[in-house]
Structure formats: structure tokens, C-alpha cells
């Protein structure tokens, strides 16, 4: 699992907000668990260790998993400060997320 700081989270936030509108962003742990295959999962570093381990295992099937200490930086644009886990479906939005992550040094 990789870590993202608040600035990096904020840089992804608007794309995730677009995904909330288009249905490509999945919000909440139970919704993320129900999703068949996701390109990305972003998780609050304050989640239970067991949950974080469960999410980390998803990397073995090709899902990139990131943790953030300041999770609100990621959810601020779409007003879901209650969320602790956000997923992105495989597809065009994930392509945009990939483009933005490539611009982040060390990610």
C-alpha cells in the first residue's frame, strides 16, 4: 500500500467527485467490498488494522490501494466526510486517476 498526503488527496478529489456523478466512484467500505473489480481503492489510515490488511490483499488482484492520514482531503469536493473508503471502477475515470497519479512524484 502506498501513502498519499493531503495535497495529493486534494488533487484527486475533483476527479472522484466527477466519478460520484457518473457512477465510477464507489463510496463506503461495504460498497467497495461489493464491487467486482476496482482499479483503485483509497482508505483512511485510521481504519482498523484488520480492514487495512484486507484492502492491502486486493493489490494481489491488480487493484492499487492507497492510504491517507487526511482522508477529508480526498472527500471534500463531493461532501462525503463520513466516508472512510473510496473505490474507483476500472474504466475511463480510472485512466484519468492514473494520469493524475503519474504527475505525483514518488507515487
Amino acid at each position: 500500500m502506498h501513502s498519499l498526503d493531503a495535497q495529493q488527496g486534494a488533487a484527486l478529489s475533483s476527479l472522484l467527485a466527477v466519478g460520484c456523478r457518473s457512477g465510477d466512484t464507489v463510496v463506503g467500505l461495504s460498497s467497495v467490498r461489493r464491487s467486482a473489480r476496482l482499479a483503485y481503492v483509497f482508505a483512511d489510515s485510521q481504519l482498523a488494522e484488520r480492514t487495512l490488511r484486507e484492502l492491502a490483499e486486493w493489490e494481489e488482484t491488480g487493484t492499487r490501494v492507497f492510504v491517507l492520514d487526511d482522508f477529508a482531503s480526498l472527500t471534500q469536493t463531493f461532501g462525503r466526510s463520513d466516508a472512510r473508503v473510496v473505490g474507483v471502477a476500472i474504466g475511463s475515470l480510472a485512466n484519468g486517476i492514473a494520469g493524475r497519479l503519474e504527475l505525483m512524484p514518488g507515487v
Partner: protein, 337 residues
Amino acid sequence: MATSTNIRCGVVGYGGAFNMGQTHLNSMARNRRMEVAAVCELDPDRRKVAESDFPGIETYAKVGDLLKNAALDLVTIITPHNTHAPLAIECLNAGVNVVCEKPLAITSREVKDMIAAAKRNKVMLSTFHNRRWDGDFQTLRDLICKEKAIGRVHRVEAGFYGYGPQGTWWRSDRKISGGAIYDWGAHFTDWILNIMPEKIDWVSGYQVKHRDWKGYSNEDHSEYSLRFASGALATLTISNLSMSGRPRWRVLGERGSIEDIGGKFQLKTAINGRQMSAEVPFAQSNWHAYYENVYKHLLGRAKLIITPDSAARVIGVLEAANQSAARNSAPVKPAFV
């Protein structure tokens, strides 16, 4: 501000077309302390309809009698466009808050007089741009202004397309209506100025009247180009002479584009060379939000969203489009930039 326990509301105009009087009063009545109190309408048959729609409501034939006897806090004017200014000023001078159906008025001179009357009498003036809460527009504005999905916008194309002669009534009489662009064009212009909150440089208008469609004076095709000081350009087309349609919205930005594809927007953007596209469904419309805001504003709990200044900019653009069209599309600087 309303000083009595309830905000007593009335409308001037209760005509049968689109039943707008009832629509306004119903929307007001959703707010707990907005009391539907009175209707002023010339037609006695329509006054009877109002009495049936709202049992116990006071009805008047003359605005002077309404203002003298109904003790209103808020009146909404739902009459032909060329009467908005004189009626609004009469109500404002009586110390009553005023909402005008769109357009606020026809000319910038009228708008200046209305705003001056509101300021002089320390009362509210607003326009019923309830479509600011249309689901498609809210989604479009959020994508552009909140999520900044396409970067700096340099081009907006908007329009409403159809084909066929207009009916013969006041809405198609240019002296009364202001022209075809003053109807849906008022909403579109309000939308455009909201997603492009920049200074306006000039407006160029272009209008066509079908040579064989008689019985009304409104043009059948009206469009304008609106150039902002930043260099961005918006075009609006309101046409009854357009058998081939175009998307209602197409917006181009430095990082992508947004196009209306019917019920949703197609967003295209590129990030670090990677193409991304998403289909974004329209949000739900909430037309009652207009009176919810007016209600809260009159109680001192919220800022007015549809301000007279924002409505004035709309009229400035429409007026400049008409003036330009009459001068072979020569650019005209609007009265409110």
C-alpha cells in the same frame, strides 16, 4: 424585511397561460410562514379561478387597490414583459418586496429605474430565475466551477432549437415581449453568465424573420455572440427556424469539453496525456429552491441568490443583442458589464 409574524404574499397576474399564478403561490405556500394572501387580475373569470384555487384569498382588479388593502410583504408580478417595470416600481414605491417573472424588464433603462426604486424604498427586488436550480444546469455549473473538470472555459455554445411558426399572442408580439430571445433566452443568458462570471466586452446579435410566417412580430431565429473581457466567447441560439438541432450545451475548456447528450453530460478531458471520458447524469431539479431562498432572505437568514444586479446583466445582454441585430450585427457593449 418582513415585520409581521407571517410574510403575506400576493401575485399580480393570474392568467390562464401555463397557470403561472397558481405555480408561484403554491411554491410560496411550501414555506411555513409564507401566507398566500391576495391576487390581482383584470379578468373577472380568472379571479374566480384564483378564489377556487385558494379558498379565502383576497382578489382585486387593480394594483392600487391590492397595495392599499392587502397589506402585502411580497408581491410577484406575472404579467406581459413590457408591464414588469411600471408595475414593479408601483409596488416597490408602496414598500412591498417584489419578485418579477423573468425577464426582469425589457430595457436597461427600466432595470435601472427598478433597482433605484428598490434601493430608495429599502425593499427586495428579484427575478424568478428558478431555472438556476435546473438539474442539468446545476450539474454543468458544478463540473465547470466546483470540480473544474475542463479547466478554464474559452467557449460556450448553448441553444434551443425547433421549427414552426409562433402562435399569435402577446408572447410573439415584439413590442410586448421584447423579442423571441427574451423568453428562454433570459434563462439561458442567466445560466451562461453564471458559469462565466466575467466582465462582458461586447454582444453581437443576429436575427431572422421567416418571410411567409405572418401574424406576429417576434423574429423566428435569434442568436447572439457574447465576448468576455478574458477573450472567452459564448453563443446562444433561440430558434424556431432550425429543423436540425444541436446539443443544448457544448462547453470547451483548456483541459476538456462537456456536451449535453440528452439526460446526461459527456465529459471529456485529458490528464497527463491520458484520455478520460465520463457520462454524468443530470442532478434532480429543485424549482422550489427559489422561494425557499426568498423566504429565508426576507426573514434575514440568507443572502438573496437572484439579485437585481445579476438579473440586470441578463437584460443588458438581451438588449444589446437586439440593438446589434438591428445594426447588421455590429458589436454593442451592454449597459451592465
